[in-house]
Point group: C2
Chain length 281, copies 2
Amino acid sequence: MTIENPSIVYFKDRFIEESECRISLRDRSFRFGDGIFETMLVVNGRIYDMPPHLERLKKGLSAFRLGLDISGLKEICEQVIRRNTLTQGYVRILVSRGVDEEGVVGYLTRGSVPYCVVQAFARPYPGFKPLNLWLSSYKVSFHTPSKTNNALLYTLAMLEASDNKCDNALLLDTEGNICETASGNIFWIKDSVLYTPDTALPFVPGTMRDKVIQLWDGEIKEGRFTLDDLKSAEEVFMTNIGTILAPVSAIGPSGLVLPAGARTKALRRMLDKEIKRAVYI
Amino acid sequence: MTIENPSIVYFKDRFIEESECRISLRDRSFRFGDGIFETMLVVNGRIYDMPPHLERLKKGLSAFRLGLDISGLKEICEQVIRRNTLTQGYVRILVSRGVDEEGVVGYLTRGSVPYCVVQAFARPYPGFKPLNLWLSSYKVSFHTPSKTNNALLYTLAMLEASDNKCDNALLLDTEGNICETASGNIFWIKDSVLYTPDTALPFVPGTMRDKVIQLWDGEIKEGRFTLDDLKSAEEVFMTNIGTILAPVSAIGPSGLVLPAGARTKALRRMLDKEIKRAVYI
């Protein structure tokens, strides 16, 4: 049974009500977004494909020098699901560098001990719904192996997209290379080839992106592409934990309008099957 | 009288003890560093040169679409100083986009109302102390009119500097242009000319930077400079609220070693005089 508002969170070694969860004013993540996060899909009360999420989290902990032992994290996430009787939705892990000593003003941390918060969110299984993207005026440039709590740019890109009646944003780097959507990865199909930006570009490759690459039975070109490449595509779609795989039906304000193609539909069906197979054993 | 740990903060329309200040798990600044900040110098119980800080804050609120009325903020900052009987140190304003509605998972905010926190920190008046900078492996690229709560990069740059026994970091952009230090602005003197990076580069020009430019009686070149330009300098110094103006005596690992020059000392004396003049009326 899915409850509407899962309220029990894991916070500093305890399972407590969200409302009892008090973040300090000296928390590094509050003051500087000093931390990272992962969001994972829950279906049938089980986390789908957790290992790559934990792998990415580990890379992020190392890159951002967050000394946190995550050996018990899988069990903690499962506990959060059980304690909230969550069947369908997400589990989100947030890591903060911790709380600075009294009196610390600046960027250099003192006395902080990294910790994590694990939270559950109830959501229906994502339908196959076409999305509109807005070509963002914000440019990505930050190379990171994991999602970080420095997400001002993605927040602004989503606000801008929303103002323009779009569901998500398409983000380029400063050189005009297509990189990602504000909260997922982008793909397109042309002449039987699947295209997607190269991981050397400044975006985080998602776990659904990897699955699509594994499932695609044909040629794949990962590289540096511009809007012109995308505009000649036959089918465009995005992937992430929130949509699984969603067709992109329009990109504003460039004017690109596309129907949801047969190969996009086929890929989504394969992903749905693969997810169900994994969580109903 | 300076007290060691000012504890009264302004938080969501109230003056309360820092320990009573509870940040929500759904706070946008905790989850995404979704906010901005300002730090101001307090001498003789008075804020030095507040107008440019408020001006910069306003620009940041506009650029980051934070709808917060700051018309009463000057008085609030003065109240925080009075209630803590702070004579010497800093007042820090942090703006968060606010707390999302229950159930919001992603970047797009819902139901949040921006608010600010004002906090006091006691510190002695900064002495004239030479600093070592570490040439950072992290590159700046984010253009912003104000300091933001997305400060993971500056945190890492300071950690790296600290590991290398340095006091601060020297940051370049991806093209090798000198931009700033991790927490301040950089200047150097050569052949009677004062050099400093152009404000078109990705860094926030500080209020002390502006003062130095006003006080310098000679030619000033603002532009795009590389490490080679800096290496031939006769005197190097940095400015910010924390040091006021501090000579840079070494830049590691490049090997540049410099004595604190007479013109740097003269500029610092002028700044000290200007600060005292302003706060002892």
